[in-house]
């Protein structure tokens, strides 16, 4: 099991009281699965994602990532989890300006203390895999949105993680680039990579094998019954423009 959440809660202090953003989430994900989590803004999906990404820790409950109890990890061990087991893909790419595509992809490898030559080679391979072998020396400003996101995906997979965490990966892309990214996720998933994606776009979510919906901090694993999904379905059938 790659993700195993047991009753995890996360609350934040606001004024004198605590507000619970994520409530008693139980969620399991097997290795090689492709899951989408949907939810409106403020639903707690980012908070959940941050915990799954080891950037934040639950206030209560237990979270196991690939068998590791995240709650018992030190700062450095959390860094190592992020470095070796997780790959992040962000909505706004988060590439370093003034660094070439290759240097951006090499970044996690430098933290893993991979020797320089091997670093070059592996970064190049990753860029090849996302179809950007002819853009290795381009800086982000010279790349289109879709290309930037593919560089970011190359960076996410370069250290051979177990799980890709994608936060609105197509949020800033046009539909053609979005489709390319989804195709890329598909082929990665077919190679056995686990992918967990957050989106509010039903079409994008539909690419995943399993959809869960989070609403007011409560995760509903049976998404087909969720009112939001039903409403969205209806909107699409009526040809209403998606938000």
């Amino acid at each position: 099991m790659i993700i195993d959440c047991r009753n995890i809660c996360r609350s934040f202090p606001i004024g004198d009281s605590f507000v619970e953003i994520v409530k008693n989430v139980n969620f399991q994900m097997e290795e090689g699965e492709y899951v989408a989590i949907m939810g409106p803004s403020g639903s707690g999906k980012s908070t959940l994602m941050n915990m799954l990404g080891c950037l934040d820790t639950p206030t209560s409950g237990e979270l196991f990532l690939d068998g590791v109890d995240v709650g018992k990890c030190t700062d450095d061990e959390l860094s190592d989890l992020r470095l070796y087991k997780l790959g992040f893909v962000f909505q706004n790419y988060q590439l370093l300006a003034r660094q070439t595509a290759l240097q951006n992809v090499e970044l996690p490898l430098t933290y893993a203390k991979v020797p320089k030559d091997e670093r070059r080679e592996r970064a190049y391979e990753a860029l090849k895999k996302v179809g950007l072998e002819d853009r290795v020396n381009h800086e982000p400003s010279q790349l289109s949105g879709g290309q930037k996101q593919r560089v970011a995906i190359a960076r996410a997979i370069v250290n051979r993680p177990k799980l890709i965490l994608a936060d609105e990966p197509t949020g800033a892309l046009d539909s053609t680039s979005g489709r390319q990214v989804m195709e890329l996720f598909h082929s990665l998933n077919e190679e056995g990579m686990s992918i967990l994606m957050i989106t509010h776009d039903i079409d994008i979510a539909a690419h995943a094998a399993r959809i869960a919906v989070i609403r007011d901090g409560v995760l509903n694993l049976n998404a087909e019954m969720d009112p939001m999904i039903i409403a969205r379905r209806k909107e699409r059938e009526n040809g209403v423009k998606q938000v």
Binding site: S79, Y84, L86, N159
Partner: protein, 419 residues
């Protein structure tokens, strides 16, 4: 680490003006310290060299009178119990291992008020009159540049011949002919046969007023005659003074003291004693004065460096704020706290060290120009360069620590959200 240094240079390069202005404080601080130290070192070295006669290593062992600071010279008094320096004592002084040459001479100071002692063109000439042996010029590092040196017959036949020094030559004859000119001493006619001056290597370098005051008065007009002739006008050949040349500069002190002891054995009087001049004391005194001044200047320059350091800290804090999303991303990608810490610390250290190197170069340049303009000596001690280098590095560490810690402590979620 290399990666960090590369990133640091890239960061500095991408904000050229900002980085330069940030470094300016460090550059000015290090440059002024460098300039001060170089000039002070140069001055100190010249002081030492000039006091030692630029390496001629001569120590005078003068005869002093108890209870007075004045040297006992020929003519003023002739205390009982003084004898010419015996061959046995000369032999002992020659055998002192530190001594290269030794000379024994008589000296009579002709003051402005002395009348009819030394006359030329019907004018009284104040000067020092010396009766010297054949080792005198060799010991003091002088050479005869016009005419001839004394010959053995001048000594043995008690000839009335004179060698004069450069100052006396200029005072008496200006640019005119000197050799063959006749000078009247106590009514007798003496013929100038030679002009001597200090060998180039031993000339003090005079460029500032204090150099002038320190060394010019050592070089008054001097007239030399053979020692055997000296008794002729003055009627005495006592007391003898001695000068020795040490083999090396740092042996001067012991050579002087040993010669002084040997000479003292020939004195049968309570009233007089031989004393070797002590250079180390006067050198040290002058150098201490210089040191006091340089300490103060360095303190002032350190304030510039402190201000520079605060500037660096300020700009690093700005940089951390600016790059918060980048830091968040790096942490999300798996960078540990110390990696972030090291990255920012490297950047500030590279910044200040670069400033330090530029400051050292600027200081060397500035000191050289200053030295050239004002004809001062300048020495760039390697320790000063190293101190400048490591000091600027330390400024980077000290003032870069706080921003770096702040960067390392950033919460990745907060950091990523900001944009």
């Amino acid at each position: 680490m290399n990666e960090n240094i590369r990133l640091a240079f890239q960061g500095i390069w991408s904000h050229k003006l900002r980085s330069f202005l940030t470094m300016l404080g460090v550059i000015i601080g290090i440059a002024s310290i460098m300039t001060i130290v170089s000039l002070i070192e140069g001055t100190n070295q010249r002081l030492a060299e000039n006091l030692r006669g630029r390496g001629n290593n001569v120590v005078f062992i003068d005869l002093k009178s108890s209870g007075s600071e004045y040297n006992v010279t020929a003519g003023y008094e002739e205390p009982d119990g003084l004898y010419p320096v015996s061959d046995e004592i000369k032999e002992r002084i020659n055998n002192i291992s530190e001594v290269k040459y030794a000379t024994y001479f008589l000296k009579y100071n002709v003051s402005e008020y002395d009348q009819k002692v030394v006359r030329y063109n019907d004018k009284d000439i104040p000067c020092d009159l010396l009766g010297i042996d054949e080792n005198y010029f060799r010991t003091l590092g002088s050479v005869v540049t016009e005419g001839r040196d004394f010959q053995s017959t001048d000594f043995s036949r008690i000839k009335k011949v004179l060698i004069i020094n450069r100052v006396a030559r200029e005072n008496l004859f200006g640019r005119g002919k000197a050799i063959g000119e006749q000078i009247e001493i106590k009514g007798d006619i003496y013929t100038v046969v030679g002009v001597c001056e200090r060998a180039d290597a031993f000339k003090p370098k005079i460029s500032t007023y204090s150099d002038y005051v320190n060394y010019m008065n050592q070089d008054g007009p001097e007239l030399y005659m053979p020692k055997s002739t000296f008794a002729f006008p003055f009627g005495f050949d006592l007391p003898e003074t001695c000068a020795v040349r040490a083999k090396e500069s740092d042996k001067m002190q012991s050579a002087g003291v040993k010669a002084q002891r040997a000479l003292q054995t020939g004195v049968r009087s309570e009233r007089v004693y031989y004393e070797a001049e002590d250079f180390s004391e006067s050198i040290r005194r002058q150098q201490e004065q210089q040191q006091d001044m340089s300490n103060m200047l360095v303190m002032v320059a350190s304030i510039a460096l402190l201000v520079g350091g605060i500037g660096v800290m300020n700009i690093m804090l700005v940089s951390v704020t600016e790059r918060t999303p980048e830091i968040g991303l790096k942490k999300a990608l798996g960078a540990k706290k110390r990696v972030i810490l090291l990255q920012f610390l490297t950047e500030s250290v590279v910044l200040t060290t670069l400033g330090g190197v530029l400051g050292i170069l600027a200081g060397i340049g500035f000191a050289s120009v200053l030295a050239y303009i004002s004809d001062m000596d300048v020495v760039f001690p390697i320790w000063a360069i190293l101190i400048g280098f490591f000091f600027s590095m330390a400024v980077g560490i000290v003032f870069g620590a706080m921003p770096a810690v702040q960067a390392a402590k950033l919460d990745p979620i907060e950091a990523l959200r900001r944009e």
